[in-house]
C-alpha cells in the first residue's frame, strides 16, 4: 500500500481514537477482527491497526491466543500476478506511527483452530513486544468486507 495512504489512515484514526487501554505500553490497538471461515477450516487470519504513541520504535515479536495451536505473523508479497505469504519473525511499529494488519497484507495467522469461530465471537490475542511487555487485545469474528468500496454497497437492479 502507498505509504502516504498508510500515513493518512494513521492520522485519520488518531482523530477517531476510541477509549483504549494503551497507556501502559504506549501502543494502541483498534479495528481488530478475525475472518470468519467455514467450520471445517483449521486456519484463519486476524487483522488490526497498531499505533505507537511513544518516541521509540516498538518491535512486535510474537502473537498468541488460546483459540489456536499456533499464531504467527505473516505478510503477503505480490509480484508477477501472484501472492506469496511470508512469515514475519518480528515487525517494527515505528515511533509515533502505525502499522496495518489487513487482508492481502500483514496479518496474523491462526493455525490449528481448536474449535470453529462464529461470527460475533471475541478472540483474545496477546501481543508480545521485544522489551518484554505484552498487550492483550480483543478481535471480533466477522465476515469482513468483500472489496474496495463495497462496505456499504447496495446494488440497484434494473
Amino acid at each position: 500500500m502507498n505509504k502516504w495512504l498508510v500515513a493518512a489512515m494513521c492520522f485519520l484514526s488518531v482523530g477517531l481514537m476510541p477509549a483504549l487501554a494503551w497507556a501502559e505500553v504506549g501502543v494502541s490497538f483498534e479495528q481488530g477482527w478475525v475472518r470468519a471461515v467455514p467450520p471445517v477450516s483449521s486456519n484463519t487470519a486476524g487483522y488490526f491497526k497498531l499505533h505507537n504513541h511513544t518516541d521509540q520504535d516498538r518491535v512486535l515479536v510474537g502473537v498468541s491466543s488460546s483459540v489456536a495451536k499456533v499464531v504467527e505473523m505473516h505478510t503477503v508479497i505480490e509480484a508477477d500476478g501472484a501472492s506469496t505469504m511470508q512469515q514475519l519473525k518480528q515487525l517494527v511499529v515505528p515511533k509515533q506511527d502505525c502499522v496495518l494488519f489487513e487482508p492481502g497484507g500483514n496479518h496474523i495467522m491462526f493455525i490449528g483452530l481448536k474449535q470453529p469461530l462464529n461470527v460475533g465471537d471475541n478472540v483474545t490475542v496477546t501481543l508480545a513486544f521485544q522489551d518484554g511487555e505484552t498487550l492483550d487485545v480483543e478481535l471480533l469474528v466477522q465476515k469482513g468486507q468483500q472489496g474496495k468500496g463495497d462496505a456499504h454497497h447496495h446494488h440497484q437492479h434494473h
Partner: protein, 188 residues
C-alpha cells in the same frame, strides 16, 4: 423510409449487443473444458454448466487470508444476483489435492453457498487445468506451522454461457462491477 427504419433496426440489432459486450471481449487464450472429481459426488465437466454464466476461482482451503477473502467476494456477488442467481454457477478448483478431498471441499464450500461446486483431482490433472487458465500455483516450503503455503494468483474468472472466458477480476475490482458484467452477459 422503410428502408431507413429497417437499416436503423439492423444497426441497433447489431450494435446494441456489441456495445453491451464491448467490455467483455472473448478471451481466446485462456479457458477450456475439463472433467474432474467434484463436490457433486461424481466426475463433472465444466461444460455441464453450459447455458449458465460461471464464476470460477482457484485456491486451497488451508489458505488463511486471500482464498477465503476471494470466496467471500464470489459469495457477495451471488447474493446480489437475487432471481438471476440460478443462471450463474460458482465454481472453485483447488490446486492442493493432497489436503483438499471432495469431502473437505463439500464441507468448506457450503459455507459460501449451497450452489458452489468444487473440483479436485490429481496433481497432474489440476496442473493441466491451471495451465489452461493461466493460473499460478507454486507450493512453498516454509518454517510456518501451517505447512505448505502456495504462491498463487487469485483472479475470479467470468465465463459466459458457452464456457468462454470473458473477464478476469482482481481483488481491487468491485462487487458491483462483477454483478453488472454478469447481468450484461445474461441480458446478451
Amino acid at each position: 423510409m422503410l428502408r431507413v427504419i429497417v437499416s436503423l433496426g439492423l444497426c441497433l440489432g447489431v450494435w446494441l449487443p456489441a456495445l453491451s459486450w464491448a467490455d467483455l471481449p472473448i478471451n481466446t487464450k485462456l479457458g477450456g473444458d475439463f472433467t474432474l472429481p467434484s463436490t457433486r459426488g461424481e466426475p463433472t465437466s465444466l461444460s455441464a454448466f453450459k447455458g449458465k454464466a460461471i464464476l470460477l476461482n482457484f485456491g486451497y482451503t488451508s489458505c488463511p487470508d486471500i482464498c477465503p477473502m476471494v470466496l467471500n467476494r464470489m459469495a457477495a456477488v451471488m447474493n446480489e444476483l437475487d432471481d438471476e442467481r440460478a443462471k450463474v454457477q460458482p465454481v472453485f478448483l483447488t490446486f492442493d489435492p493432497a489436503r483438499d478431498t471432495v469431502e473437505r471441499l463439500q464441507q468448506y464450500l457450503k459455507y459460501f453457498g449451497d450452489d458452489f461446486v468444487g473440483f479436485t483431482g490429481t496433481e497432474k490433472q489440476l496442473a493441466e487445468v491451471a495451465r489452461q487458465y493461466g493460473v499460478i500455483a507454486i507450493p512453498q516450503k516454509s518454517d510456518s506451522a501451517a505447512g505448505i503455503l502456495y504462491t498463487h494468483s487469485d483472479y475470479i474468472y467470468l465465463l459466459d454461457q458457452q464456457g468462454r472466458v470473458r473477464a478476469l477480476y482482481s481483488k481491487s475490482d468491485s462487487i458491483s462491477k462483477m454483478v453488472d458484467d454478469i447481468e450484461s452477459l445474461l441480458e446478451g
